[in-house]
Symmetry: C2
Subunit: 206 residues, 2 copies
């Protein structure tokens, strides 16, 4: 008998499973499990079904790697998005933040991470070869690097920017490589920055 699950192994298992959620410790997990079982069976049922559906249908876009239910996401497939601009972000959440500013009409490439030597994430983990080919396909005229303004995000931006410039030079392609302007507070995670600041930083990209 686990004390926090009282005499129910199923309740103990649910509390343990809830701890897979980021930011949820043992106390929060217990509180969540008790709340669902005591007050919100419908919500628990809805959560279970939406997990199943999302696991079965959500995957990464073959072109930009954001979340989608199709082979190619809506943004990559949209005929009215500017294919001469390619914005590089760390995560789908960062892409979503930029989309919400309605200040950018180009395409994206989602790294699904950033260079992080301490976590063992190197250039090979970010599918950079695919990114470099895309950025230097001749159709792209400007790459906007929108990784976070953290140490790791800045290092990632410098590394990627240098790679893309070198490859474009090899191919004899004219390519502008820009970075979101200062205006995004240094040290901040992009997804938590207010939309107005992100919009301004897009306009002032350097």
């Amino acid at each position: 008998m686990k004390a926090d699950g009282l005499s129910s192994p199923a309740l103990s298992a649910l509390i343990e499973a809830l701890r897979a959620l980021p930011g949820v410790g043992p106390k929060s997990a217990q509180r969540m499990a008790h709340h669902l079982l005591q007050h919100d069976h419908d919500g628990a049922e809805r959560l279970a079904r939406s997990l199943d559906t999302a696991l079965a249908t959500v995957r990464h876009c073959a072109l930009c790697h954001t979340f989608t239910e199709d082979e190619i996401c809506e943004t990559c497939a949209a005929p009215d998005r500017d294919r001469s601009q390619l914005c590089i972000v760390e995560s789908p959440a960062d892409q979503s933040a930029i989309e919400q500013t309605r200040s950018y009409k180009g395409q994206y490439f989602v790294l699904l991470g950033r260079l992080s030597p301490l976590d063992g994430i190197g250039p090979n983990d970010l599918q950079l070869a695919q990114l470099i080919e895309r950025a230097t396909d001749g159709e792209v005229k400007e790459v906007v690097i929108a990784t976070s303004f953290t140490n790791e995000g800045e290092a990632t931006a410098h590394y990627i920017g240098a790679l893309i410039k070198a490859r474009a030079k090899d191919k004899g392609i004219e390519l502008k490589v820009s970075r979101l302007a200062r205006g995004v507070p240094v040290g901040a995670e992009l997804e938590y920055v207010d939309l107005g600041t992100i919009a301004q930083a897009l306009v002032d990209r350097r």
Copy 2:
């Protein structure tokens, strides 16, 4: 297209469903959904299955109302628990906190709430009739009221204590009605109090 779910309705639905969890706002829900889909498919699968299992098997004990998978919970069924003591708590989480102190060997009655006029929770919502009958069955010699030391918890304790004493007097039964000692900080939710304080308060019950 919902911005936070990008172009995936299944992802939007998952983010929405995660908001059923207490303390989870839109940003946290998005972060949780992205984390599960990007990094932890196994954890998401485990969460869905444990929700299904808990919904199908966990119910309230017919005697004390705590969570259990049986008609009667382990504590109520245990032959070695002292049936002359009945501890009244607001929630299974509070019962769990008391159990973890290992300072109490009697039985429980879980109110699954507390009197809260502002939330429309009155005496009829707490199954007090069943509690009064149980407390005055002749086998119980002491009732330990362990509701929270909040205003509502104190009001609930006074109300229940008075009802039980009146009924015991009617029946001509000798019954001690005690309250957890001061030592539990006033204004605190019981489940967040450290175990040593709860243990001391049990010993010093008044």
